[in-house]
């Protein structure tokens, strides 16, 4: 859950790289701070004496309207959020001094997706998705419906009005955020790549 720079320490010099993992799947009963992503101290600060109760708002306060969504419409959600599952982690070089907010690591190809030819109700295309990683690795996956939908929740960005804004800190830093979480989106589909990548020729594209 840290920025990518941390993971990159162990990354080899390849432009992008895929590392498989086979961690066990333990279940734990999480504490409030783990569930909400809020710090326990701030939760306590807000609920001086009572046990903490964090509101979970069913809709986001500031839903960003997405730009053009390049994924097939089935995977579209109102906020544009989608789920991608990989067996492993994506490594890429550190974005040192990069003016860009992101690093391109590969591309997704839906080789069977062709609504013009197969009609909008065609679902066969879901059976195959390629993820080209860097120049010479390819993962084969599919689009799957989630057994149960996932709510994507995050800390709600609201700032108390009553806190002293002046002084040295000033601005947003000086305000204390209200401890609330919100459901940003409900996602019903995911793109899954459950097998390891296979080597492909650099020029082979599009399946």
């Amino acid at each position: 859950m840290h920025g990518p720079a941390k993971r990159v320490a162990s990354a080899p010099p390849t432009p992008s790289h895929f590392q498989a993992s086979n961690a066990p799947t333990p279940t734990i009963l999480p504490e409030l701070s783990i569930v909400t992503g809020l710090s326990l101290d701030s939760i306590r600060h807000q609920n001086c004496f009572a046990m903490p109760t964090i509101p979970l708002h069913p809709r986001p306060l500031n839903a960003s309207s997405p730009t053009e969504n390049p994924l097939p419409p089935l995977l579209h959600t109102p906020t544009g959020l989608a789920l991608l599952e990989l067996q492993g982690t994506i490594h890429f070089p550190p974005p040192t001094a990069s003016p860009l907010p992101s690093t391109q690591v590969g591309k997704l190809v839906f080789p069977l997706y062709n609504p013009a030819l197969n009609g909008p109700d065609d679902t066969k295309w879901m059976k195959r998705v390629y993820f080209y990683v860097g120049q010479n690795q390819r993962m084969t996956g599919e689009v799957k419906k989630l057994g149960k939908p996932f709510a994507v929740i995050r800390k709600r960005e609201t700032y108390g009005e009553d806190v002293d804004v002046g002084g040295v800190e000033g601005g947003r830093e000086g305000k204390r955020a209200k401890e609330e979480v919100e459901v940003v989106e409900i996602v019903r589909w995911k793109i899954v790549f459950s097998s390891r990548p296979e080597p492909v020729g650099g020029s082979e594209e599009g399946g």
Binding site: P4, I28, P58, R59, T103, L108, Y132, I186, S194
Partner: protein, 345 residues
């Protein structure tokens, strides 16, 4: 749409600053709730009070998710695969024109599951509420300086479940504190209520003005909020308990009066069953007398001898319930039934 068929595919990028998201697997009823046109706000509460911050091993405070009337235990499941949350973005790389890109904006190594939790709100409330006891006109009660709302905030269950237990215990607020009345106090307040109803010609089964009877009871020296609490506890299922009118459910009231009388005598000398039945009948409106039979309080009493009766010990009942709840119904006997009935009320 052209992009998807484009030979070059959909570019995938990873944001340099990942956001913090949690993924919660939704049971159908929660999904339905959240997708309704006007979804209610939910809340995430803590199971137990944590040790003060800074303690090396703070006591675990498990989180629960509450709807209006249901509670779900949250469980965190580590995923062996990486789960990424993506968002469309217009990106330009290597001085090419901007193209719609799928950008990874969060990475989750665990997801959260929701499991229905049936906590015993009544026993939590009993622990948190001091007993309000009146002996010979003297009040014996310790203020807790806590409102009903702040008490509910301390219980890791939904407000609906807390409210139900609150009514079940005939709990009430008084001067900034909350209490639950002792059985003997309840029994006295009921007698006073019943007498007032008789004197005023009020039929408790039909609609009557809540304030009117409550005032008469208050004049006897009981908290003004206690009589309405009894009316709520004994209200007919379809009765709106927030309005100015009340009407009591005869079956609930008869059983409540019997159990209360018995509990009020608990720990005292032997109580002759015949005496109990007489006292019970005398505490009821004339028309209800015939309803006072032992079968209406089945499960709430023991018969230590052929002629005496006593209330089943509450602590024994609570322990029993805790132990037997997870077991199959067959081994739980009538206790299970009794608690099941109470919950449904």
């Amino acid at each position: 749409m052209a992009t998807q068929q484009d030979e070059r595919g959909v570019p995938l990028s990873v944001a340099h600053e990942l956001q913090q998201f949690r993924l919660v697997e939704l049971p159908p009823e929660i999904a339905e709730l959240l997708e309704a046109p006007n979804p209610p706000a939910l809340s995430i509460k803590s199971q137990a009070p944590s040790a003060p911050s800074g303690t090396p091993n703070p006591k675990a405070a498990y989180a629960v998710l509450c709807t209006q009337d249901k509670t779900f235990q949250l469980r965190q499941v580590q995923t062996s695969n990486s789960l990424f949350v993506t968002q469309p973005a217009l990106e330009s790389h290597a001085s090419e024109p901007s193209v719609p890109t799928t950008r990874v904006i969060a990475s989750c190594t665990a997801t959260l599951e929701l499991h229905p939790a049936d906590g015993a709100a009544a026993s939590s409330l009993e622990e948190l509420l001091p007993i309000y006891h009146v002996v010979g006109g003297e009040v014996d009660a310790t203020e807790n300086h806590k409102s009903k709302a702040s008490i509910f905030a301390d219980i890791a269950l939904s407000d609906g479940q807390c409210e139900q237990a609150w009514n079940e215990l005939v709990a009430f607020e008084l001067a900034g504190s909350s209490y639950r009345p002792s059985a003997s106090t309840l029994s006295h307040v009921w007698s006073s209520l019943n007498a007032a109803a008789l004197a005023e010609g009020v039929r408790l089964e039909s609609q009557f003005q809540t304030d009117h009877l409550a005032q008469l009871v208050e004049e006897e020296g009981y908290p003004a909020t206690l009589a309405p609490a009894i009316f709520r506890r004994l209200a007919k299922d379809d009765q709106d308990t927030t309005g100015p009118w009340s009407s009591l459910d005869r079956t609930k009231a008869v059983s409540f009066v019997g159990k209360t009388l018995l509990e009020a005598k608990h720990g005292g000398a032997d109580y002759l069953t015949a005496d109990f039945l007489d006292a019970w009948k005398d505490s009821l409106p004339e028309a209800w007398r015939t309803d006072a039979e032992l079968k209406t309080i089945a499960g709430a009493y023991d018969l230590p001898s052929s002629s005496t009766i006593r209330a089943k010990s509450k602590t024994a009942a609570a322990t029993n319930a805790e132990i037997t709840t997870p077991k199959p119904v067959s081994s739980t006997g009538k206790w299970h039934e009794r608690f099941g009935k109470n919950r449904k009320k």
